[in-house]
Structures are given as C-alpha cells and as structure tokens.
Assembly symmetry: C2
Homo-oligomer: 244 residues x 2
Amino acid sequence: MRNIRLDVCYDGTRYSGWQRQTSHDNTIQGKLETALSRILSEPIEISASGRTDTGVHAIGQVVNFHTDAAMDCTELLAQLRRYLPEDIGIYSCREVSPRFHARLNALEKTYRYRVWNSELPCVFERRYVAEMPEKLDVEAMHEAAQLFLGTHDFSAFCANRKMKKSTVRTIKAFSVERVGEEIHFTVTGNGFLHNMVRILVGTLIEVGRGEREMDSIPMLFGAKREQAGFLAPGKGLCLMEVRY
Amino acid sequence: MRNIRLDVCYDGTRYSGWQRQTSHDNTIQGKLETALSRILSEPIEISASGRTDTGVHAIGQVVNFHTDAAMDCTELLAQLRRYLPEDIGIYSCREVSPRFHARLNALEKTYRYRVWNSELPCVFERRYVAEMPEKLDVEAMHEAAQLFLGTHDFSAFCANRKMKKSTVRTIKAFSVERVGEEIHFTVTGNGFLHNMVRILVGTLIEVGRGEREMDSIPMLFGAKREQAGFLAPGKGLCLMEVRY
C-alpha cells in the first residue's frame, strides 16, 4: 500500500475541531476523509500529527493515509483543491516511506497564540486572535515563559483531569513578544497535552496582568489543574509547524 | 449643531457595499446610521469620503455627521464599539469644524488591490485577495502603471457609461509590487470614478499576462469602456486612506 503525506492548513472558525465525530462531520478530519474517499473511491482514514480543538487554526498540520489507489500525487492535489472548502488548504501532497506516521513520528511541534492587545478594532484578524485590550506586561510574560523550559510534569496544564498516561513533556522554546497591536506567544515542545498551550498562555496572561507571581510558576509542575491559569480562547491558537 | 468625524474600517465581505439601500439595510452605511440613530436617539445621516462596492473593504474610510446630541465622543465611541458587528470597526470619533465634509473636502485617496498570485492556498487571507495563480509580469505591470500618472480623461475606466459629470481625474502615484505570495497594486489619486480602481487593475493584469501592449495604454484616455480591461473582483480592493 502507498503512504501519502499531506501538509494542510485551515481556518478552524467554523469547525468542531480536528477529530471526526461519529454523529456528524463538521470537523476538518471529516471534510478531508470525505474528500479523499470520494476522489480515490475507497474509504480513507487519515492520521494527523495531533488534534486541534474547536476554533483552533493550523498553518502546518501534517497528516498521512494509506491507499491502494494509483492516482498520482499531482492529480490528487489538484482534485483535493477543487473539492475542499475554501477554509481548508493543501500545501503539498507526496508519497512517503511506508513507515511514516504523522502522529507517532512527530518530534517537535510549534504553536503560536495571538492576542490582540489594543484598543483599536481588529476587524480583519478577528478570527485569528483573542481580544484582550487590557494592559499586559510583555517582558514579565516572556521572563515567566522561560520558567516552563525543560522537562516537567504538566498535569496542571491538562484539560483531562483523569489522564492515565504520562503528563511529562519537554518545552524547548517559549517566546512572548509584541508585534504591532498583537502579542505573540510562540512555544515549541516535543508534544502537548489536551489544552496545554491555551492553559500555558492563560497562566502567562495572569502574570502579565500582575495577578500571578512569576516565582510561583515552578510550583505548578505536578500540581492540579485548579492551580494553573485560565483556558485562553481557542480562536487565538494556531499549529504552526510539526518537525519529523 | 455638532459635526462628528469617524474613522472607520470594515470587512466588506457580507455587505452590499457602502451605500444605504432604500429596501433593506445590509450596507455599511445602513449599519452605522442605525447604530448612531439608536445611540443618539435621533435620526442620523452620514456622509462618507466615497462609496465602496459590494465586497470591497476599508481600513481608512472617513465619515461625518451632524447631531444636536450632547453625548461626548469617548462615550459615543464606546457605545458604537459595543453596538456594531465585529466586521465594522471604529478607529476614532472626534468633533470637527462645522465646515468639514468627508466627501467634499477629500483631497486624495489611496486604494490597495491585493492579488494572491501563488499556487499555495490562501486560506487565511481569502476574503481580502483576488486569487490569480497564473504567471504575471510584475515589472511590466509596474511600468505600465506609471503611464496612468497625471491628469487624464478616465471615461474608459468608469462603470457608469452615461456619466454626465467630468471623467477627468488625477493619479498621483501607482505602484505594483510583489509582497510574498501577493501582488499589491497601490494607487493614489484626487478621486476615482465608479469601479475605476478595479478596471485599472484589470487592465494592468492584462499587461501582466502579456495580453495587452503597454504602449496602447495612453490610447485609453478618453476612450470607451470596452477598450479598457476587465473589472477585477471586488474582494481584492481596500480603501486605505483619505487625506484632507
């Protein structure tokens, strides 16, 4: 069987997240699987590097699937682009080694969280930013972000309170910077728990507001969900890149 | 009576253009007048620097209106922001000289037209660009754009074929440049006829495709609509700035 890799982007605004639901298919996985199954005339199941939640976007999502179909990748790419809605885009389509698995082989992921931190209206970027016009201390948030670097138990940053698997993850880089009217939180790690990036950002925003002491951050490792910050809204988040 | 100036931006995607229609109010003027009339409890009529067509956007639209209401501008701005939909934004609200008129006093306007000139998907910018993935000669288009500079009869670039008023306008600057996956057409003039920017862009795109000789452009001054290029789609156009 052939193994095909797709590099995908999407505006998550009108979807119930990545993962296909049994009852309906208003998901990005659902749209892609339906398109691929029709184009290739066989049921296609795809694996992504990871799920994204409702309203979350992706510029660099990576997926793969297996097929017996003979259609070449150029033709498949052209048909996919014709078939998919305008808020799901395909950067590339190529045959890869049979052993490549989009989720299991992912070594590193980078997410960006965009906050619109301005009194000015954000009409054109409104789907891709979380609006927080209040005063935020960007330097303090950047400094606090560095305390997350390294390998820690991120149990307090996991939406799943009954997580049975390991909640240990490694964060390799984490920057917070002002870009025009926005603040960008850019984090790279070997993997992220459910809602982890949005809870990390919520925690840093509490530091930026002066509501949380930076020194208390190391005490959050291995702690309970209640001790970490709020869940920042989904629409500000974008999966930027997956490295293999 | 007080004279109030608003600096406004909007995503024109879901509106039938700027100008209020008698039958329904799915227009930006309609939304603004309805909001202002309710907030100030009196019927408000606004004048804009100019109309924009269906699907056309604005970053720097300027409007003014007269009112007897005493509400201060800070409060009015806050209420407008609360009342207006998320695709219409207000940058500023201030009292100006009684003689200021957004349309009659406009000296210069700048429009930008964005073409997505790439095989890559344009998921995130899709509402604000016209997709034209074909090969386009940017240098030739820029050179041709310079032939429009100066004061000319732009009758061939006017959608209104029975225009009774003067079709003479002055173009002060016109650049065509590649910006990443996009080509930006940026034009400044003392005023523009109905659809003029979109027909200028359509004409330049024909030059960029190699379908139209650059040398023929001066022959378009004072010519008929048929002789100029096609009408480029509305969604790529944005009113950037009005100078007074």
